[in-house]
């Protein structure tokens, strides 16, 4: 490849990647449990692999989903090999009942009664403790802003699975926050100990 065409490919690559770089970093931070050096390494590896692939073929239909797929594979290969076959998380029927009861107590003003009581670091800690398959679905949706179709493409799972993982992942997170609040006495009077 000549120098001029190499430069041309580089410019086209930058144009393709630049609109998505910030959401990629946000996603990398979540995947790496907010470890910034690891997230930056993962992001750099993603860009390098993406550029190598881009030089071979520049027919990229959905750049954002394509980049997230590369990042996810890099993450699995480099940081988390056991992720290839994630442990099956059993469906916790009891969580449904627990969520229903907790929601009834905080639904009037959830932000004031419940969410305002947590520091960002506490939400992050609860988020990081989610099982991987739920954490990555919620990350791609809420942190990186991908559509369900893009998430389906990135994770290589059907749309129904994406829907289910996102709803279940958020419910698990909510349940964890509630337990955390209960343990530390962060709930308003009358809420403590209503659920267990």
């Amino acid at each position: 490849m000549s120098v001029s065409s190499e430069e041309d490919v580089k410019h086209r690559f930058m144009d393709l990647v630049t609109p998505h770089k910030d959401v990629l970093l946000a996603g990398a931070l979540r995947l790496c449990n907010n470890n910034r050096p690891d997230a930056e390494d993962l992001l750099q590896e993603t860009f390098m692999k993406a550029y190598t692939a881009f030089r071979r073929s520049q027919e990229i239909e959905n750049p954002r989903a394509w980049l997230f797929k590369i990042m996810r594979n890099a993450f699995i290969n480099r940081y988390h090999k056991s992720h290839r076959e994630p442990a099956v998380v059993s469906y916790d029927e009891a969580l449904d009942d627990r969520i229903r009861a907790i929601v009834a107590h905080v639904a009037e003003d959830p932000e004031k009664v419940f969410f305002s009581r947590f520091l960002d670091s506490e939400v992050e800690e609860a988020f990081n403790s989610l099982p991987e398959q739920f954490k990555e679905a919620v990350t791609l949706c809420d942190i990186s802003g991908l559509s369900y179709e893009e998430i389906s493409e990135t994770l290589n799972v059907p749309l129904g699975t994406v829907r289910s993982r996102i709803s279940r992942g958020r419910e698990m997170l909510f349940g964890k926050l509630y337990e955390y609040a209960k343990e530390r006495g962060l709930l308003p009077r009358g809420e403590k100990g209503r659920q267990g």
Binding site: K10, K21, M48, Y51, V103, I143, R163
Partner: protein, 110 residues
């Protein structure tokens, strides 16, 4: 529509990902079900909290990482120096090297 189905649609609705026809069914269910209506409020607030976490990312960091990919040491299209120096890569290189020696010894003995 039962509550279990409605709750999955609540999340799709919060994410603006409902399919055609689902919005009317969900709205109808929420009118009759205060439990799911409260559920929608709670998870709407949770989504807001998570989205706020995404907004705290420093844009300059991602730009710097992207620029690093094209620094002189990291030639475009080639594996970056930092990648080839990573402990895992060194380990893999040693494994390949030892395998080659083993094959050579086996061939010599045969």
């Amino acid at each position: 529509m039962n509550c279990k189905e409605a709750r999955i649609l609540v999340h799709a609705s919060l994410d603006a990902q409902l399919l055609a026809g689902e919005k009317a069914s969900l709205d109808h269910h929420l009118l009759d079900c205060s439990g799911c209506e409260g559920y929608a409020k709670v998870f709407g607030a949770l989504k807001g909290r998570l989205s706020a976490m995404a907004a705290t990312t420093d844009g300059a960091v991602a730009t710097a990482v992207l620029d690093r990919c094209f620094e002189s040491g990291n030639r475009p299209g080639q594996q970056a120096r930092w990648l080839s120096q990573a402990p895992f890569s060194r380990y893999r290189a040693w494994r390949v090297f030892l395998s080659m020696i083993l094959v050579a010894v086996t061939l010599l003995l045969a």
